[in-house]
């Protein structure tokens, strides 16, 4: 887990962006270390994409500053910044061949034809698409276009690569495959990746650190484990993965404690009476069971009122049914106190 070093690749100071009355970005302070795989996670409208566009230079902040590698670049144009973007719609130039697309960044920098062709082919090799060099973007599949967009962005060797929901348009299978490729590419190139996504699973699997966005602010910043295991508040607990949330009155009824708590479904076990030593338990009735393939989701109505979702791994042979009386149990450590 990399921690912010002495000269971070990106430093955002008091960043704000207003569109009319809407505060799309409402005071973001952030340091992203060199070589880090950093994700900005949040639902649409949470401000994560606007932050990315402020870093790229497509938007200028209302206030605050963007510092790249120690240089304040606030107020400079995109072409003056040493960052490159992989766009959500890939933004490949339809009138150029794949090779011309990839070589574009070198061409506008005045790199000679022979040199830029060689480097573009090299970048195409990195994403294993040398064989489509002479085709047009329209002749490629979504996954191929995605990789061309990557090749086009890395060919100019930026210090930071910004990725705006790059896998959003791909189907599940391809997305999982591209996640592995992205991670490998980042390790190989050693450049900083800033990855914007609304897919919490994607953020958890790929990132060194994650910033969870809500209404233009960062609500929690930490490693995937920290975000998942100790969500700071109800918003993070319910947005990242699923959580059973206990409101103050429910906490008193079920747990006999004051405050708000979250409990992950997979941390709860089901039994017909035996409770492991040291565990907390409650009685309830099964309201619904859903088969998931990898396991079963069991919804339990507790006698004390609230409804709990339990995730049973498929290795557990007990198959409870609707209407069964059960005992749910969990370790006290697995309860997360929310602010």
């Amino acid at each position: 887990m990399s921690q912010p070093g002495p000269t971070p690749a990106i430093r955002l100071v008091g960043l704000e962006k207003h569109f009319g009355d809407v505060r799309a970005v409402d005071g973001v302070d952030l340091e992203i270390a060199d070589g880090e795989f950093f994700s900005m996670l949040g639902p649409s409208g949470s401000g994560k994409t606007t932050v990315l566009r402020l870093v790229a230079g497509f938007e200028q902040p209302t206030s605050g500053s963007v510092v790249l590698g120690g240089t304040d670049v606030t107020g400079t144009a995109p072409f003056e910044r040493d960052v490159n973007t992989v766009f959500q719609d890939y933004a490949l130039f339809p009138h150029m061949s794949v090779l011309e697309n990839v070589a574009y960044g070198l061409r506008v920098r005045g790199v000679g034809k022979r040199d830029r062709t060689a480097r573009a082919r090299e970048a195409l090799a990195t994403v294993r698409l040398e064989h489509v060099a002479d085709r047009r973007p329209a002749q490629l599949s979504g996954g191929q276009r995605q990789r061309i967009a990557l090749a086009r962005a890395i060919v100019v060797r930026p210090k930071v690569l910004l990725l705006d929901e790059p896998l959003g348009a791909l189907d599940l299978k391809l997305r999982e495959q591209m996640q592995v490729e992205l991670k490998g590419l980042q390790r190989e190139l050693g450049i900083t990746f800033v990855f914007v996504t609304h897919d919490q699973e994607e953020a958890l699997t790929l990132s060194d650190r994650i910033a969870v966005f809500h209404e233009g602010r960062i609500v929690q910043l930490g490693t995937p484990q920290e975000i998942y295991e100790s969500p700071q508040d109800e918003y993070v607990a319910s947005f990242v993965g699923t959580s059973n949330l206990f409101a103050p009155e429910e906490s008193r009824a079920v747990l006999g404690r004051d405050g708000r708590f979250a409990l992950r479904p997979e941390k709860i076990s089901l039994s017909d009476g035996d409770v492991p030593p040291g565990a907390l338990s409650a009685r309830g009735v099964v309201a619904e069971t859903i088969y998931l393939g990898t396991g079963r989701r069991v919804v339990v109505d507790l006698e004390t009122g609230p409804r709990l979702v339990v995730l049973e791994p498929s290795t557990v042979p007990t198959a409870v049914e609707r209407g069964d009386k059960v005992v749910v149990a969990w370790r006290p450590d697995d309860l997360v106190a929310l602010s």
Binding site: A56, G57, F58, A77, P78, F79, V83, N84, T85, F87, Q88, D89, A91, L92, F93, P94, H95, Y104, G105, R107, V108, R109, R152, A153, V156
Partner: protein, 302 residues
């Protein structure tokens, strides 16, 4: 395309209608025939037949004593317009005016269209579209006469230019070019605007992101992508100017364009066959222009 199956509960308006509907639902060719019969008849009649009539008329001649049309076929008219220097001069003049009008319109339209499609707020964009379309509601004649009055001695143009030591160009080819460029401008702006709008913003951002300055982005990304739309717009200004004879009568002074020659031969000179032959000239030029433009894909933008 599959025909939607007729639901049993549908067709409230009686069994006959229902039978007709289900008959049509399963016969796509009959449906297509009914849909296109009327417009196709119209097109064939007014378009193809009229064009053929024009071509045939050009091969007739007029008896110079009686003024009667002689319907035996001859190539005399075509020979006359290709050899007489008058027709060559007028054709070149018309071509020059049409090209100049087109160049001016494209140069003026490009930045306006870019502003409308990529810079203006949605509200400003709507206002601009209305502003571009509004002149089309005014009569052609009114606009031509407005220019006549503006270009007159002591008119608006004089009033604006005199303080700078310049004066109105007066009536002549310059006035024709100005008037035509003004009148056809909306027809050039609209297709270019539509073409610019089809270029995703992300392409412009991607070019900047990869290091291209704004000018470079316009040259390497915007222009290649809107070129077909520019050519589509130029087809309008070029062909409309090519066939015009009204504004040249109003602001053109003594100058003649192809349209005037057609007009005089139909009317005063009473030589319909020669008029038809002259009318073929802009048609041939336009076909050549369209053939050249077709290679760029501009016809997909009309």
């Amino acid at each position: 395309m599959t025909a939607p199956s007729t639901p049993v509960v549908a067709a409230p308006s009686g069994a006959a209608t229902r039978r007709a509907s289900s008959f049509l639902a399963t016969r796509p060719r009959v449906r297509l025939g009914l849909l296109l019969a009327a417009p196709l008849t119209w097109l064939v009649l007014v378009y193809v037949v009229a064009l053929a009539a024009l071509l045939v008329t050009a091969l007739w001649s007029v008896d110079s004593f009686t003024g009667e049309i002689d319907r035996s076929l001859t190539l005399d008219n075509l020979r006359e317009i290709t050899t007489e220097s008058l027709y060559r001069t007028v054709t070149l003049r018309t071509l020059g005016v049409a090209l100049l009008v087109t160049v001016i319109d494209v140069v003026v339209a490009l930045p306006i269209a870019f502003y409308m499609a990529k810079v203006a707020s949605p509200r400003a964009r709507r206002l601009l579209v209305v502003a571009v379309l509004t002149p089309l509601w005014a009569s052609y004649l009114v606009k031509a006469f407005a220019w006549r009055s503006m270009l007159s001695e002591g008119g608006l143009v004089d009033w604006v230019l005199n303080p700078f030591g310049a004066s109105t160009p007066g009536y002549g080819l310059t006035a024709v070019v100005l008037t035509q460029a003004y009148i056809w401008l909306p027809y050039v702006i609209l297709p270019i605007y539509a073409g610019m709008e089809r270029v995703p913003d992300s392409l412009l951002e991607a070019a900047g992101d990869l290091g291209a300055s704004s000018g470079r982005t316009v040259r390497t990304v915007v222009m290649p992508l809107v070129l077909p739309a520019v050519l589509a717009g130029s087809i309008f200004s070029f062909s409309l100017t090519l066939g015009d004879y009204i504004s040249v009568n109003i602001v053109g002074g003594a100058n003649q364009m192809l349209g005037n020659l057609v007009y005089t031969n139909v009317g005063a000179a009473n030589n319909l066959p020669l008029a038809a032959a002259i009318a073929l000239v802009p048609i041939v030029i336009m076909l050549g222009y369209l053939a050249a433009v077709r290679r760029t894909g501009a016809l997909d933008n009309l």
